[in-house]
Amino acid sequence: MSGEESVDEPVDVLLIGLGACGAVAAHVLTAAGLHVTALEAGPRRDPGQMRSDEIHNDIDGWLSWPKAIDEVPTLRMDECADASPTWWPTLMVNAVGGTAIHYPGASFRLSPWNFRSRSATIQRYGETAIPEDSTLADWPLDYDELEPYYERVEHAIGVSGADELAPFAGRRARGYPMPPLQRSGWNELTDAAARRLGWQPYPTPAALNSREYQDRPACTYCGHCSGNGCYRRAKGSPDVHLIPAAEATGRLRIVTGARATSIEVDPAHSSRISGVRYRHEGRERFAPALVVLLAAFTYENSRLLLLSRSARFPDGIGNHHGQVGAHFVPHVTPSMYGLFPGQRLNLHTGTWAQGTVVDDWNGDNFDHTGLGFLGGGALIAANEVRPIAASGQTPPDVPRWGSSWKAWLAQHAQSVGSAVAQFESLTYDGNRLDLDPVARDASGMPRVRITYRPRENERRGVAFLRTKLETWLRAAGATETWPNEAVHIEGRHVYGGTRMGEDPRDSVLDRFGFAHAAPNLGVLGGSTFVTSGGHNPTLTAQALAWRTADELVRRWSALAIH
């Protein structure tokens, strides 16, 4: 420790990152009487800053760019290649409220099958159905164990939905606190088409207020929801509800502009964490804590553990078995466009979370015999297409510029609908996160390096889901369909790196999210997921965070050795 380092007052729980999951933990822990300090790398944001401006939000990425320039991971699709800057979308936000400020709020539960997909696959299709190099595993908890936490999060942040319409869903003790969002014409058209196909569509459950909820107003469907915060606090992002509630207890201290650089081990107790080093306003500081919860984004969670080297943990905390960074997987998300000639779809209105969802091709809700892949994904037809984006939705046989492009746009720009699938990709040996040996961020710390190569399972699954998307769009009236070839790896839906499990040899965290190697260190977020699931992840990450915080309160007297 350098002589210039300042040491903070000790605190009960130190949170690294105050986003979707850190905010849940802060809410639960402060309510239980614990004193929490949150180190947040970004600033505070305010609903008054949110503008309906595609260039400001999507092109300039004013919310996500500050994090991107400092942290964006590098990527290689081949284990032997050099990595280059990631070209997938990896938009993340450094701010009080984190990336959840600008997510559109889709708030799905995983299905019971997702938690035991390995054993269920073996039972139904045999061991050989699982690719040899896949590290597919069951979760160390089942759906029923997480169900009460899903419920708590849904009611805390406010989720609008129609539980009675969702097929294949697990048991639930209570319905959603609000009815579904307003249904757009596109939602109704795609809902009717899915029913004609014999599928079972339902409205996207969303952390957006369909009516006034608690002290927050209803959504007004402005069309600038994803990539932007809500101008009127109708989105259940943590900055407008969970964090203010935790601050109101007087037990949450937030340090903005605080960049954690390493998690420190107690020299007197080699399996105990003593606190966190961080940089703040140009100074090195040390924040001692009885318990540390690491709640950054998936990439950053692995990076910080790998950067936290000591005599006890020479390869990073919890990495004795090379498990930190392992089992990394992004969602693979094929999408299709459809042309609906003469129909003005008005997709520039509303929010992405205003969607029609089909789960008939998700998980093991259909027979996979002979298909050559496992799992599937939710199909979603959503609103919120802004004008610059709309100008790029041309079929492959139409010029992308010039007078014939203008003519096509004039005739058809309002008549293009699309649907996307959240394909549940598998984890594999070799697909992982580690520290880039060359690339460093602006502060001189190594960037995260992604090594990811989709395999045959993903190729077949994507092709299968594309045919379902096409079938759906055609049933809704599309006369022509074409795939969006541009990007179908979703770098914002990323999982693993700090997997939960029973066995320290193939996981980093125990079944409650605490490190096998250091029980007073917990990790929150998508990095803890064992599998990706076939739905948007945030609600599950938040339910897990609530469960970890609950367990922390229960274990408190044992964990907090004063």
Partner: protein, 170 residues
């Protein structure tokens, strides 16, 4: 530094990507040239080097084909050279396609044509009118979200204001 920017070439390129025609104004009149110069290609632009290199290459290719430069080439030759640049970009790998010069210019042209006019492009709402997009507003009612619903823009449309796009960017 301003001399580095081949403004005539840039104008000619953008005007071929978004031509002035029976469907409405082209890049120059719609403020797209101004937008691209100020944000990306000009002296304070974030992509000025890429523009300097890319535009110089187009001028050289036009000269190879007997024209004085790109702006002086016949529209058919201009389109041919742009199509070749497009094909070169599309032939790249997924990882680097988006950074190809043609893809960069097209992306910036679309921003300038279809982005919020507050940024200087989409002058007179030329881009939004082409798409049938009324305007950015805070509230969309259920009946306005129906298929076929047509809403009257809140922002006044009508004759384009006199353009100074070319002059102001020089």
């Amino acid at each position: 530094m301003t001399d580095d920017l081949r403004i005539g070439t840039l104008e000619a390129v953008l005007e071929r990507l978004i031509p002035d025609d029976a469907l409405g104004p082209g890049a120059r009149a719609a403020g797209v040239v101004d937008y691209v110069v100020r944000r990306y290609a000009g002296v304070d632009g974030s992509a000025r080097e890429q523009y300097a290199i890319g535009l110089a290459a187009l001028d050289a290719q036009a000269a190879d084909r007997g024209a004085e430069d790109f702006a002086g080439a016949a529209p058919e030759l201009q389109d041919e050279l742009l199509a070749a640049a497009e094909a070169a970009g599309l032939a790249r790998s997924d990882a680097s396609r988006g950074t190809a010069f043609f893809e960069t210019v097209l992306r910036h042209a679309r921003e300038g044509m279809f982005g919020d006019p507050v940024h200087g492009g989409n002058r007179g709402y030329a881009g939004w009118d082409l798409l049938g997009y009324p305007d950015a507003r805070r509230v969309w009612r259920r009946d306005e979200q129906a298929i076929g619903a047509v809403v009257v823009p809140l922002t006044p449309r009508g004759a384009l204001p006199p353009t100074t796009a070319g002059e102001s960017s020089r």
